[in-house]
């Protein structure tokens, strides 16, 4: 074991890195776990005694409804992203390499531009006297403007618009790895297009699907500014509830408990992703 004096640089680097992560990642997360089992306190935010009231409060019908509605909107967002993204990634992976790189670049350009501004741009399109309604009325297809803004649909559209690249990128990477020989082998063994799709393509792209689901589903429950701008007060996300508890109601235990539910969901999805990858690895080796 080299002593500290012999490798001052190494020691300094490790202390800095560990210090940062312990103070700004581990400690805050432990704090949230701790806060979730403590009691709300108007002065110091949290105080003893320990209890599970915050978790019980999650099952209060009022909040349960918000959570289920949020989960529903997040699930719809994920489904729409998958339905758009799966064929998209497939089609993309069949193009020439140079063109693929350009198109991937075009895909991440919107993703690096301010998400608030992009949500606002959608608002301009969807508003009652917005561009879509004006266009449809101008064409004479509708007489009354459609109510699109401040609906559940608007929130889902907003979330899909912001999160689609997160679904496409992992899908693209699995389609890119998909070996053409496997498809040919399946064809040679007498499988039709549909059978090949179900038995070869779907299982091999499953890790990409799960990675995409993970990257879309969780943010789709947390991006509180989307319902704020597009959804009105009836289409809230878990993120809105958490934000409300921490910034307005000052009920830390409840906000912390809600955030732990999100984290646990993430952990389960990550585990599923790992297992699906391992399964493919074993089948590939055997």
């Amino acid at each position: 074991m080299p002593s500290i004096t012999r490798q001052p640089f190494r020691t300094a680097v490790l202390v800095l890195v560990w210090g940062w992560l312990l103070f700004l990642v581990l400690a805050p997360n432990l704090l949230v776990v701790g806060a979730s089992v403590m009691t709300r306190d108007p002065g110091t935010f949290i105080s003893l005694p320990l209890n599970l009231d915050a978790y019980r409060q999650l099952f209060d019908p009022l909040y349960l409804e918000v959570f289920l509605h949020s989960l529903y909107m997040a699930a719809m967002t994920t489904l729409v992203c998958l339905l758009i993204g799966y064929p998209f990634a497939w089609a993309l992976s069949k193009l020439g390499k140079q063109r693929q790189l350009l198109l991937i670049f075009l895909l991440i350009v919107p993703f690096w531009t301010n998400s608030l501004v992009r949500t606002y741009a959608l608002k301009m399109l969807l508003a009652t006297n917005g561009l879509i309604n004006s266009a449809l009325m101008g064409l004479g297809w509708i007489d009354e403007p459609l109510q699109m803004l401040y609906t559940e649909g608007a929130v889902i559209i907003g979330l899909v618009y912001l999160l689609l690249p997160f679904m496409i990128l992992p899908l693209y990477s699995v389609f890119d790895d998909l070996r053409q020989e496997l498809l040919l082998a399946s064809h040679d063994l007498g499988a039709g297009r549909f059978a090949t799709f179900i038995h070869v393509i779907v299982p091999l792209t499953l890790p990409g699907v799960l990675a995409g689901v993970m990257l879309v589903l969780l943010p789709a429950m947390g991006l509180f500014f989307v319902p704020d701008i597009l959804g009105g007060s009836r289409n809230l996300l878990v993120g809105n509830v958490i934000k409300n508890q921490f910034l307005d109601a000052r009920d830390w235990p409840f906000g912390a408990a809600a955030s732990i539910v999100l984290t646990v969901t993430m952990a389960i999805l990550m585990l599923a992703h790992r297992l699906s990858k391992q399964r493919i690895g074993e089948e590939g080796a055997g």
């Binding site: 001052p8 640089f9 190494r10 680097v13 490790l14 800095l16 940062w20 992560l21 700004l24 990642v25 581990l26 805050p28 997360n29 704090l31 949230v32 806060a35 935010f45 998209f88 497939w90 089609a91 993309l92 670049f105 075009l106 895909l107 350009v109 919107p110 690096w112 531009t113 301010n114 998400s115 608030l116 501004v117 992009r118 949500t119 606002y120 741009a121 959608l122 608002k123 301009m124 399109l125 508003a127 917005g130 561009l131 993970m214 969780l218 943010p219 947390g222 991006l223 509180f224 500014f225 701008i229 993120g239 958490i242 934000k243 921490f246 830390w252 912390a256 955030s259 999100l262 984290t263």
Partner: protein, 256 residues
């Protein structure tokens, strides 16, 4: 199935992605006050943007924050990547795991955990809290960028340097840093854009003493349509685009 169908599909999806942005840019030059009807070409929204002192101050605050957050996260991120790549130490997997968790966990979870920390430890919400938070969420991205560069690197060079008597620090400075330079630049630019665009974490950890751009936009767009936002959005778009192209250019050039 024919060849044109998948291609038509790709084009359609790109249209859907870019139409809202296109509308935003076009309407930023619109003379009309209403956000929906075209009233001729004008730069009035850009003008009113720059005449708004609070807005200009928020812009400078955001730029300064992004600049410092990107710099600090690049330094710490690069050192982390070097440590992960070169050193054997206890808890390496834990370290890796923590970085992965930061990257994967929903932003809002990170946001409230940092808010709780700052309030309980007594760090005032403002520039310092924003900087600490932004560096934390940029860190994993820098580490990944630098690690990718290091993994394709010939191990005999640092060994040769060590054999010739260079200390660890000297070897890092003279051999490793030049090798990972492009990744450092790319990571810095990535951190800069991430910091500039962040809404969720900043909403929680900023205080009235240090107002930044995304929060100002947020309060503007919540109440209604504001044509100034179109102008501001267009400026941010051009800015991010330039940064992104720069980082891609640096990365592809260094590969040759």
């Amino acid at each position: 199935m024919t060849r044109w169908l998948p291609r038509a599909y790709l084009v359609l999806v790109y249209l859907l992605l870019y139409v809202p942005i296109g509308v935003l840019v076009v309407f930023s030059f619109n003379d009309s006050r209403s956000g929906y009807t075209w009233g001729g070409l004008s730069l009035r929204w850009y003008q009113s943007l720059f005449n708004n002192n609070a807005m200009v101050e928020a812009m400078w605050n955001s730029l300064w924050l992004a600049l410092s957050a990107a710099t600090v996260s690049t330094i710490i991120g690069a050192l982390t990547a070097l440590a992960l790549h070169r050193y054997r130490f206890r808890g390496k997997k834990v370290l890796n795991g923590m970085l992965f968790v930061v990257m994967m966990s929903p932003e809002i979870v990170l946001a409230i955990s940092l808010l709780a920390l700052f309030l309980l430890v007594g760090i005032q919400l403002g520039y310092v809290s924003l900087l600490l938070a932004h560096v934390t969420f940029c860190l994993p991205f820098v580490v990944i960028t630098v690690m990718a560069r290091l993994s394709g690197f010939d191990e005999s060079l640092p060994e040769a340097a060590r054999d010739l008597g260079a200390s660890d620090f000297t070897m890092t400075r003279t051999v490793l840093i030049p090798v990972i330079m492009p990744a450092l630049l790319a990571g810095w630019l990535l951190g800069f854009t991430l910091s500039l665009d962040d809404v969720v974490v900043s909403t929680f950890v900023s205080g009235p003493s240090y107002e930044i751009l995304p929060l100002r936009i947020y309060s503007m767009v919540r109440v209604g349509l504001k044509p100034e936002v179109n102008a501001l959005g267009t400026l941010l778009l051009v800015f991010s685009l330039v940064m992104l192209m720069l980082s891609q250019w640096i990365l592809t050039r260094s590969k040759r």
